[in-house]
Symmetry: C2
Subunit: 283 residues, 2 copies
């Protein structure tokens, strides 16, 4: 089984506090994984089936009164492959069991509320795996880098976020957070590709070049997140994204690990089994 290519459990090998600081992190490295691209791609298929089974079990329990669920927060700089994670890891699951939300630039309505308002509305229901493509962490990333609100406001958000996630976890949500780290060279390559390929023009946003100019500021803002919001109950994982096959496999493994630790079993019948078997036999 390909999982044996892991020399350490991903939840340990990729933890932000272990592999950081981000400024020194090599986005083409594959911490804890000794396999190559081919074995990684094979592993994703095999482990995808494991993930799908666990996800169905979570869903079944959600339908049967268990309130637990999972929230995967995906952050990363432009071109780091956030959408690819949603497509290729989320795509391993039954789409009915997912609650995917992409958070863009806040709308005027969203801005008229506190920054967690739109987040609360998008939280997954019981039994589902919620995936956030960007999240409440935007409010301490671009918002901090560009001081879109005063420092006195954004600097308080780390504590607010910790409290929010603590509450989520206490209510039955398994929270895991992944930061996809792309290198500056790889980002340039990916931006170039988007402009070279007419099927990818729509993915290109001129503002990405502007943001690229704030690379160091973003690294600092990410590091602040890891320093202040990487908690055992809502951990941050730092995942090199220069190798897409690795980031997808890593996130798949982290989800499997989170689901396995829920120790799910198939729900017991909520009805009199023998009685219903007779009813079906006679119908």
């Amino acid at each position: 089984m390909s999982k044996s290519d892991w020399t350490a459990p991903p939840r340990e090998a990729l933890r932000a506090s272990v592999v950081g600081p981000i400024a020194d992190y090599d986005p083409s490295s594959t911490p804890g994984y000794s396999g190559d691209k081919d074995s990684g791609a094979k592993a994703l298929v095999e482990r995808g089936a494991v993930l799908a089974d666990l996800q169905e079990k979570l869903f079944a329990n959600g339908r049967s009164g268990d309130h637990r669920n999972v929230l995967l927060v995906v952050q990363g700089m432009d071109t780091a492959g956030k959408g690819g994670i949603v497509a290729h890891v989320g795509g391993l699951c039954d789409p009915q069991g997912l609650a995917i939300t992409g958070f863009g630039k806040p709308t005027p309505e969203e801005l008229s509320h506190d920054f967690l308002w739109r987040i609360h509305k998008a939280l997954p229901p019981a039994g589902k795996i919620g995936i956030f493509d960007r999240s409440h962490y935007e409010d301490v990333l671009p918002v901090r880098v560009h001081n879109l609100v005063p420092e006195s406001v954004w600097s308080q958000r780390y504590d607010i976020i910790n409290q929010f996630e603590r509450e989520l976890v206490d209510a039955g949500t398994t929270v895991l957070k992944v930061a996809l780290v792309v290198s500056k060279d790889e980002q340039k390559k990916r931006l170039t590709e988007r402009l070279d390929n007419p099927t990818k023009y729509w993915k290109y946003n001129p503002a990405d070049i502007d943001e690229r100019g704030y690379w160091e500021d973003y690294l600092q803002a990410y590091q602040a997140i890891f320093d202040r919001t990487d908690n055992d109950h809502a951990p941050w994982y730092l995942i090199g994204a220069d190798r897409k096959w690795f980031s997808r496999l890593a996130v798949c493994e982290l989800l499997i690990d989170a689901l396995e630790r829920l120790d799910l079993s198939w729900p017991a019948p909520t009805f009199d089994l023998e009685h219903e078997q007779r009813r079906v036999a006679d119908c």
Copy 2:
């Protein structure tokens, strides 16, 4: 290419007005398709890739200002495989491009509004494929069979639904509606399986046996839907569901056909291409 196993386009061969009435329909038949299970399964893989490409193109256009989208309504009696359609046809697409909603028994809040209230809230945004697992048609199916509202109320809903769907289509939504038809024998087999397999208990609902007692009434209620709401702009397809491989392939083909008729191309750049190419080269 497996598509050649189709002797007639699915949108013609499966149209409710062509293959009906439902009472005479053989749910194990595969109208318009001459292939067998193996070729059908192969075709689903091949055609799934075509569907995924078209869906990405729809999504790309939605991101670029095109307001069009698609709504797939899935109805069918218990065990007909509605969830399987969502999982195995929806599962061919990038989950980010889907907006899936399952409509259960209405909540007190939903009942306090008109029957289209919860439907409107779940309509897909631009560029997405909405999938309704059950829909506003529940309000003329169980509601009609059990007279949950007076006949004077439900009997008016056909016109209301036609008007609603006309409005949707005029606003840029491609609407297609599939009714999965399972035979009474096959339903009994599937209910029995659910009670024989602990991993499927959660799918079993004792009320399904009660509903089974109203089989003829449901056939009449379905026929009324086809007679009154099968319109060229929002057509109904009657799809035999005793062979799951066929129902999945058929719905995949209907979606492909709907997307192809949108005649989508990749969005043109919304920026000065050469200028941005220079910016990326210099960054």
